[in-house]
Amino acid sequence: MISTILLAALAAGPARAADNEISLELGSLGTQDNRFNLVHDRAQMGTYGGRVGLKVLDNLGVLVDIQHGAWGNTVDVYGSSDTYYDETGSTFTAAYRGSQVLVGPKADLRVTDWFHPYATIQGGLFFGRVLLDDDGQHTDNANQIAATAFQPGGVAALGLDLVPIRMRHQLRFGSHLELGYGLAAASSFKATPPGGGDKIEIARFGFGGFYAKWGVGAYF
């Protein structure tokens, strides 16, 4: 489907050039990897960010998209012995703060002046940090562990640009909705222990699944 739209867009006449664009976005990224449940217990996680679209050719542009998200869980450690784990000692916080930077072509069709379906394929890098903390009351406790990883990934999606506000000048305001599939390779999150020494792996996961983004922005 995506390739069909891409080909159709490239074959279409120069009815109107693709727009430049700056938008703010809210999104949702699928996390089918069960290991991600450590920091997020739902299959979709919310993101926020923005994108910049640059016109390259008629019906063809380049999108640069940046998304950010942060999620966390209280981790209950079961199987605890009554002799040493009490209610406060049997939990810790596991959190993830991540960003993704994606770049890729966007090909659109001008069905009407304000209705522009498009397809895009983007590749890029996911940068994330897993954080473990067993004492949220203090910022100087011994067990504050942070591990980072870079993950290559990408998305393929279909979308709609809705640009209904017509103005005499070039600047128009519009909205877009994008649905597709996102994927990021599983990576090892390695941390330097609090006391130093060799890095240790504290988490390993990737992303994958349905993703959606909605945004509003300026088209010019």
């Binding site: 209280t74 450690v77 504050q144």
Partner: protein, 518 residues
């Protein structure tokens, strides 16, 4: 650039904002079925403290420089571990899952009934697997010869746990392990429930006690040299409860469960004598320096001192029965760890005089300092107690301190239940170290003036305390991600190592050792 004062708060604010641990997102809950680390499993060795990681099915070595590492057990998980007497090695009973279906790669994919475990005994030294011995997995205890060259694996069934079975179980068997070679262990059939092993001081012989028989094994050949039947009636069960060797190594003294008979085995001329006592002993202890044994009874208010030449018995009357004996050089300390009596006795072995100390509450245990100047014991609350100040003391945990030189005793009331106690001595001072449940402090009591303890702040509430081979101590803490402190009592310093619980936080259940056909 010179930082002016208005810039400092801004800089501090900026740094705070950069702290990634501030305002961590926390939107839900996640459960982990097993603890990340088990503080009660900690075993101290010369190269660090070894701690099991149940969730990761792994073993960590925690060092006092703040670092830690994972011991590679080739995918096996720790069942139990113990250090040898000089703490140079750690012996690990470990196991790994095996699926009968060779195509299955993950434990979760293996059908019920097709998943089993294989076992081994691994010798770990300096964080590395040095030696692997195939020992029947149900032999769950080790006894070490005095020189550390031989270990004897035997079954201790006092816990009543399910026995790990790998084929069949021979309940008469013990396994002799030569720790200096890679030779396979030698199994020796001793007798039913062979669960007590003592060694001659020269390390040449092991005396193994089982139901109704005692066997002497030559440690050079691992062959039985003598077998002593404890009864000639096959229908009679004679279960040894404790055994000691006389300092010259010639005699083994054996007490029998529920019997007032004390068996004396002559290991040189293969003879058995029975010494009749007036009741079944509660404890038997050898005072090596004085070459005498002390026997106490739970039902008799007396101690019997037995000399080792003619085995004559001298009786010392006491005010109350005692059940435990701690040998000193010229005396033995006697106390009762099983009832609500408060008495502690210092029994002079030469003069047979008993000095009485009366504690505020019953004793759980008693520790003797190396110089034998002080004894320190944890006192437990009494089940019933009166009113007033007596009732207050009776209802609280306490610490008893006995000055054995000046014959003085003091009972202190503790704020909470102790989770660990240790004693340490320097050239000019003796200290008791006390950890209290739920408190982030370590109490260091100068035993010459124990009423004014020094408090050392801890990073987290303690769970336990253990001695390191070099005279320092390690303290385990209530911290799910792992926290161990190292205490140097001489310097009064504490350092800590954290985060080791996060090792293998996310593990998969891939079956180990698939290439080796399990």
């Amino acid at each position: 650039m010179r930082l002016t004062s208005p810039l400092l708060p801004a800089l501090a604010l900026g740094l705070t904002a950069c702290n990634p641990f501030q305002n961590l997102p926390n939107n839900g809950y996640y459960g982990i079925d097993q603890v990340l680390w088990d503080p009660t499993s900690a075993v101290a060795a010369v190269d660090g403290v070894y701690i099991t990681l149940p969730n990761a099915r792994a073993l960590a070595r925690v060092k006092d420089d703040g670092t830690f590492d994972q011991v590679d057990l080739d995918g096996a998980e720790v069942v139990r571990m113990v250090a040898n007497p000089d703490a140079s090695k750690v012996f690990v009973w470990d196991r790994w899952p095996v699926c009968q279906d060779p195509d299955v790669k993950k434990a979760d994919d293996c059908l019920d009934g097709e998943l089993s475990y294989s076992y081994e005994l691994t010798v770990v030294e300096d964080g590395q697997r040095q030696l692997v011995k195939s020992v029947p997995p149900y032999l769950n205890r080790l006894a070490f010869s005095p020189d550390g060259s031989t270990a004897v694996a035997y079954l201790d069934y006092t816990s009543g746990d399910d026995l790990p079975v790998d084929g069949v179980v021979d309940l008469t068997q013990v396994s002799f392990i030569n720790l200096q070679t890679e030779d396979a262990p030698t199994s020796v059939s001793i007798g039913f429930s062979a669960n007590n092993v003592i060694f001659s001081q020269d390390g040449a012989r092991a005396v193994v006690l089982s139901r109704s028989s005692v066997v002497v094994v030559d440690l050079a050949t691992f062959e039985k040299t003598v077998e002593y039947p404890l009864t000639l009636d096959a229908n009679q069960q004679v279960d040894p409860s404790s055994a000691v060797l006389t300092p010259d190594g010639r005699y083994a003294l054996i007490t029998i469960t529920g019997s007032s008979d004390l068996y004396k085995l002559d290991l040189d001329v293969e003879a058995i004598d029975i010494i009749s006592l007036d009741a079944a002993p509660a404890a038997l202890s050898v005072n090596t320096a004085m070459d005498k044994s002390v026997v106490v009874y739970s039902g008799l208010a007396r101690a019997d001192v037995i000399e080792h030449e003619y085995f004559d018995i001298s009786t010392v009357p006491l005010d109350e029965p005692v059940t435990a004996v701690i040998p000193g050089s010229t005396f033995s300390l006697l106390y009762n760890d099983g009832s609500n009596t408060h008495d502690v006795y210092k029994l002079d072995i030469a003069s047979l005089e008993a000095t009485l100390y009366v504690m505020g509450n019953p004793l759980n245990d008693l520790l003797l300092t190396a110089s034998e100047h002080y004894a320190v014991g944890v006192q437990r609350p009494e089940n019933t107690y009166g009113s007033g100040l007596d009732g207050y003391q009776d209802s609280h945990w306490g610490l008893g301190v006995i000055d054995l030189v000046n014959d003085q005793d003091l009972s202190l009331v503790l704020q909470a239940e102790p989770v660990g106690t240790a004693v340490v001595e320097e050239a000019d001072a003796s200290y008791a170290l006390v950890l209290l449940s739920g408190l982030d402090t370590l109490l260091q009591l100068d035993l010459s003036n124990p009423s004014v303890p020094l408090e050392l702040a801890l990073d987290a509430p303690p769970v336990g305390i253990g001695a390191l081979p070099d005279g320092r101590f390690f303290i385990t803490h209530d911290s799910p991600l792992g926290l161990v402190s190292f205490l140097d009592p001489a310097a009064g310093t504490l350092s800590s190592t954290a985060g080791f619980g996060a090792l293998g936080l996310q593990t998969d259940d891939t079956l180990p050792r698939l290439d080796a056909s399990n």
